[in-house]
């Protein structure tokens, strides 16, 4: 038996993709490795989710529940506690190998696959951090799971490296649960977290944020437990400045130093990978360079708002359904290239075989811009422009415009002109 569409991952992204595909009357199976649907939202108990999609402010579990309810009402087939360990494509059929306690090692075939496997946290091993290797150095997301799902506070005296949103959220969360949060160090001269989290999580509780600082030493006690850390200011080349050392006695160092799309399932495919997003390159239908293989949510690009994950993944699910319906014609494509002040763009290709009216481009700026004009060129021709204010790397931006008038031969260049 061959499924029409298999969705891998049952978090915000997978739920939205599966719902969209099912609404187009497709035979959908969703595979989730955890014991419940909802993904990372289940541990994100803070509020602020859903303002864009529902015009209401929900917590993570509430936001997930909205989608789980709709998912269940559509009678979409799904597996829990099932981990996909291998993905292959033979001729036009995908072969999904999964491992689960219930089914053992088994294979499922599908005509199209949507990857919505989320992202993982960078760990200590992925950055250079001098010093000992004690227990007590843990990623912010792991600490969040221990606290909010399992009910364990991982430490009493905490320092946080990296000002990503999870780190900021955990600063407040651990502070409110009685831990002493001594500060947050960020190597960049600006925070990587959303403004609201700086205000609500740090400023509200007088937790200091050390910009242009990083951890330069880690000390363990005789039991190999974390005892103290040293932070130092860094210069513009990120080299520590002598004489700026500050010491903190801590039992926990939380790491909030970045998220990386989880695309391990694509290892066996010869796909184009974007070194900037660290994920597969896609066209405007969220299709990778392998026909019928779609990717969305945090496994495509790390988002700061779940609302954008839902909207994007819903479009990916619809695309997968259109693919099954044979609506894709030619495969003539042009590139979409990030230029001045743009960190990355997604999609990276515009494929004229897909008949959408609008091209939606997500991007991040490479620096903070008070006032800027987003300009998209095809050759010498300016095909789109719009002014924006307060553009920061921490917040993903989006533009959309009709592309029926575009030439099918020349690439698009996206720039942010500082005003």
């Amino acid at each position: 038996m061959i499924k029409e569409i298999v969705v891998i991952g049952g978090g915000a992204s997978g739920l939205a993709a599966a719902i969209a595909a099912k609404k187009k009357n497709k035979d959908v199976l969703l595979i989730e490795r955890e014991a419940e649907l909802g993904g990372i939202l289940n541990q994100c108990i803070h509020n602020g989710f859903g303002l864009e999609v529902f015009k209401e402010e929900y917590t993570g579990p509430e936001y997930a529940y909205k989608f789980i309810e709709e998912f269940n009402s559509l009678d979409i087939e799904y597996l829990l506690n099932a981990t996909v360990i291998k993905l292959d494509k033979v001729d036009d059929i995908f072969i999904i190998t999964l491992s689960s306690e219930k089914l053992g090692l088994s294979e499922i075939k599908a005509k199209a696959v949507v990857i919505s496997s989320g992202c993982y946290e960078r760990t200590r091993g992925q950055i250079t951090m001098p010093g000992d290797r004690p227990r007590g150095v843990i990623t912010a997301g792991s600490a969040q799971r221990y606290l909010n799902i399992n009910g364990f506070l991982v430490g009493k005296k905490v320092f946080i490296l990296g000002s990503g949103d999870i780190g900021l959220i955990m600063a407040r969360r651990m502070h409110l649960e009685g831990a002493e949060v001594l500060g947050v160090a960020e190597i960049m001269p600006y925070s990587n977290g959303l403004n609201r989290n700086i205000v609500q999580c740090l400023n509200d509780f007088d937790i200091p944020l050390y910009l242009s600082h990083t951890v330069t030493n880690v000390e363990s006690d005789e039991f190999k437990r974390l005892k103290a850390i040293t932070i130092q200011e860094v210069d513009s080349r990120f080299n520590p400045i002598k004489g700026t050392e500050k010491h903190f006695s801590v039992d926990t160092l939380l790491l909030s130093i970045g998220l990386i799309p989880d695309i391990t399932l694509l290892d066996d495919f010869d796909i184009d990978v974007d070194p900037k997003t660290k994920s597969a390159k896609i066209n405007q239908a969220y299709e990778t360079t392998v026909n019928g293989l779609f990717i969305c949510g945090n496994s495509l690009q790390v988002h700061d708002l779940v609302d954008n994950v839902s909207k994007e993944s819903s479009r990916a699910g619809t695309s997968a359904a259109d693919y099954i319906d044979g609506l894709v014609t030619s495969r003539q494509k042009i590139k979409i290239i990030p230029k001045e002040n743009i960190l990355y763009v997604a999609p990276q290709y515009l494929d004229f075989g897909w008949s959408f009216k609008e091209l939606i481009i997500s991007f991040r700026s490479s620096k903070k811009l008070e006032k800027a004009a987003i300009k998209i060129y095809q050759g010498e021709k300016l095909v789109y422009q719009k002014r924006r204010t307060f553009i920061v790397p921490a917040e993903m931006e989006q533009v959309s415009f009709p592309y029926s008038e575009l030439s099918k031969d020349e690439d698009l260049r996206v720039e942010l002109e500082e005003l």
């Binding site: 579990p61 399992n150 009910g151 609201r196």
Partner: protein, 119 residues
């Protein structure tokens, strides 16, 4: 002197300016104005945390104050919420503490508690 606030009503984070005359600018919506007025007089926050349950498979359930409560009451609210233990199946939105600290605000579940096993 002009005072700058970062509006936190929504993730947009507008930089809102208030001048000496009390003129508010920089907000992209009406909620920004309300937010800044409140921040200057009576700042409030929604508190989100967890409560214990007696169910082995769901040791913690998430809760929130249904509306924002005065910032000065956050610690007292946490103390009260940490005393709650859920012993039965409950739905999202059900009240776990009524009218917390006489704020007129209820603390409600943000996670459905579906019974699997009783300790």
């Amino acid at each position: 002197m002009t005072k700058e606030f970062i509006c936190i009503v929504c993730p947009r984070g507008c930089h809102v300016l208030v001048d000496d005359a009390g003129n508010i600018s920089g907000n992209q919506c009406k909620r920004g104005e309300t937010y800044v007025k409140n921040e200057m007089t009576n700042p409030k926050r929604v508190v989100t945390t967890t409560v214990r349950t007696v169910f082995e498979e769901i040791p913690r359930a998430s809760v929130k104050t249904l509306e924002a409560i005065p910032k000065g009451l956050i610690y007292q609210a946490m103390d009260l919420i940490n005393q709650v233990v859920i012993t039965k199946e409950m739905k999202i939105g059900e009240v776990v503490i009524e009218n917390i600290l006489n704020t007129g605000v209820n603390v409600v579940l943000t996670k459905e508690i579906k019974r699997k096993e009783v300790k």
